[in-house]
Point group: C2
Chain length 421, copies 2
């Protein structure tokens, strides 16, 4: 967690402009998304991201001990190839986690078959899976559709097909592209992600991909991507359940970037990743708003991050948000149990523009007005005004961070309880 | 976390028998519970626990930084008096947390007035509060009812009045007494607790009290009570939100116990505390069952405890339980993110009597049968058969632990969201 407050200001940029597009908008990347019959619904379920001239890839992965085999494969091959990756195949519908030794073999077979067809070495090809835990991937179906997948690579709006093919029960496609001119050179960043959906007996799985047409040194790129992951995907929570398959892969390709523009490029990467991360949080199961927790004045960014995540994860805070209830007691209680020491008399709290709590004492605020404000935001789903922002200043330290989450609704419970055997 | 597996076997005992009664069943303790007009409902809201001849008291408290002032007062006075406490006054309705410097003064005034009336020194008197955060205790009302409270001390079934007066929105009174004959001497342990209820803008607050008519050395008693707290109250979760007011106080009084019976006494204390802890979990907001997670074969008891708590806290596991869904994928995923390393191929999982998962691979179990079993337990609220037990063996280590929780229902969301300003 570095520069989280800086990242906040970076959410708007004078340099980077959002443009229509996705992961194939940067030069050097092709994509495809097709239906291989993996999902009973017949929806797209197999995606390919391909860098014909090669790319430098860095990834961050789930910390779960019960991670899926595809995660191990990605980690191993990124190490073996020193980040030189050309293709990623992604299947949705089957997480290929907890499938015994077969899971490993299936991941290897699919990537082997793809590598053969693209003329690549095995270690240049990755695989990501998302969907039901414990059920193996229908390998024959995937392999029999690889030619169709490869033939779809140069289709128009293929980035949209890919972004669709990685979804499970997400309600919204999540993709974005940003462009800037750095030293006379046009640089483009593209991204796509899937979030948490679940009507199958599985759990939320987050997959995210970013492409960029500026070449960056392998080690610099890895450092940058780790910082970007912390300020974006590691700062969101829907239900506190870490997936077996969480994967974030970022690819840089093309002529090397003038080192003077490295920090500006990183700004664009933060913008892209935060856009995708927030899109995942606001599309959380049963969610009606994007909950944004800003913590300032902490001893360190890490402390601020722990507090922001604790508040964003609190069932009591999330149900209060769902009920448009400016229930500062639950926010302060979550702050108290986050594990960071602070002086209670320094604590200030705002909900939206309203100051609620100052120097350790609740203010005499207009509860109805604040509740109405919250209610209006809950109605704004998928609009720019769907954000309920909670801001806490806990002292005079320099640490700050933002975490994103969503409200906890009875719909969340129904989505996750109603699937019975 | 010590001897958690041992504690499991201690849930049944050949020595200790449950008897009708509560905190005044052991010799040397009086109690009272009255209505002081603190709750708008007119229900009992002021309790007193009194040891006329003195008692040795040990306590464990919330780890929250935003803890209530009464918690600080308890900690300070237990230290100053070296555990020699004679009275605890408990008010329900107002948590007296986040009330500025007034909170401290109010706690001191009430205990001063009580000490005066009972002829005690200030440091022999404690106060506990539970209820709405941020609102001060109506001090005048409490003080004007202290004489009535003291006059109610010798009432019959006063223990029941006290157990009622500490409740907020709990549906059930939580109390128990156990008796054993140790070396020819009859020893009695009594206990009462309140759990998590919330229709006010506050958060779950756990208060628990145990009395015992065997005298124990202060240091031995403290050690014992810390172990007891770990195997009981520190092993339950309803919604993951730690309260500002959590307090567990345990009193020993009377002639000193023959040291040969110390471990047997500890067994009785574990029994009592675990009974109360489970009563809190099964009376969790919106709960329909008691969820029991047993973890065995971990490297240490601490590891086992972390895993059991992570699973019991998982929203996805809790909603699956609510939907009678034997969704082992969510259990295994929670296991994976608990932070303890293990060999996945060693993992075995049972839901109730049914083996679901063995040596890293799901078994071909009868989903309908397991679901029917779960459904029958969800209907059994407040009966002995309301327990859904999940057992995990993760290796060959000697570490084990149990955690208790409950299902997550749409009713939980409604209870916590529907209170609007």
């Amino acid at each position: 967690m570095k520069n989280a407050l800086l990242n906040l200001s970076r959410l708007t940029s004078s340099v980077w402009s959002p443009i229509s597009g996705g992961i194939t908008t940067p030069d050097g990347f092709l994509a495809a998304g097709i239906s291989a019959g993996l999902k009973p619904s017949g929806k797209k379920d197999l995606a390919l991201l391909y860098a014909p001239d090669g790319a430098c890839c860095s990834g961050t992965f789930t910390q779960s001990v019960t991670r899926a085999y595809c995660v191990d494969l990605c980690i191993d091959r990124l190490k073996a190839s020193k980040g030189k990756i050309r293709a990623v195949v992604i299947n949705s519908g089957h997480a290929n986690a907890c499938t015994g030794s077969r899971g490993k073999i299936d991941s290897e077979i699919i990537t082997f078959e793809l590598a053969q067809r693209l003329g690549l070495s095995n270690e240049e090809v990755l695989i990501c899976s998302t969907g039901v835990i414990g059920e193996p991937i229908p390998v024959e179906k995937v392999i029999s559709h690889l030619d169709h997948l490869i033939n779809s690579l140069d289709k128009e709006e293929a980035y949209l097909d890919a972004a669709n093919a990685i979804l499970t029960t997400d309600l919204q496609v999540k993709q974005i592209a940003y462009q800037a001119v750095l030293g006379g050179r046009r640089i483009t960043i593209g991204g796509m992600a899937k979030g948490s959906g679940m009507i199958h007996p599985s759990m939320a799985t987050m997959l995210s991909y970013i492409t960029c047409d500026a070449g960056i040194d392998n080690v610099l790129w890895s450092d940058m991507i780790n910082r970007v992951a912390d300020s974006s995907f590691n700062s969101i929570t829907v239900d506190g359940d870490t997936s077996t398959n969480d994967t974030f892969l970022a690819f840089s390709s093309g002529a090397e970037l003038d080192p003077r523009y490295l920090s500006t490029l990183e700004e664009g990467l933060h913008l892209t990743a935060q856009y995708l991360a927030k899109a995942i949080a606001r599309d959380g199961e049963g969610a009606n708003c994007l909950l944004e927790i800003k913590v300032e004045g902490a001893p360190s960014d890490l402390d601020a991050h722990a507090i922001a995540r604790t508040i964003a994860s609190s069932s009591l805070v999330k149900t209060a948000i769902h009920g448009s209830d400016p229930n500062w007691g639950r926010i302060i209680a979550a702050l108290g149990r986050a594990g960071t020491p602070f002086n209670f008399n320094d604590v200030k709290l705002w909900i939206g523009p309203y100051e609620i709590f100052s120097n350790g004492i609740p203010l005499n605020f207009d509860r109805q007005k604040v509740s109405d404000f919250m209610k209006s935001r809950l109605k704004g789903k998928y609009l720019i005004d769907d954000i309920i922002s909670i801001r806490l200043r806990i002292g005079i330290g320099k640490g700050s961070a933002i975490a994103w989450g969503c409200d906890l609704s009875d719909q969340y419970v129904r989505i996750n309880a109603d699937y019975t055997t």
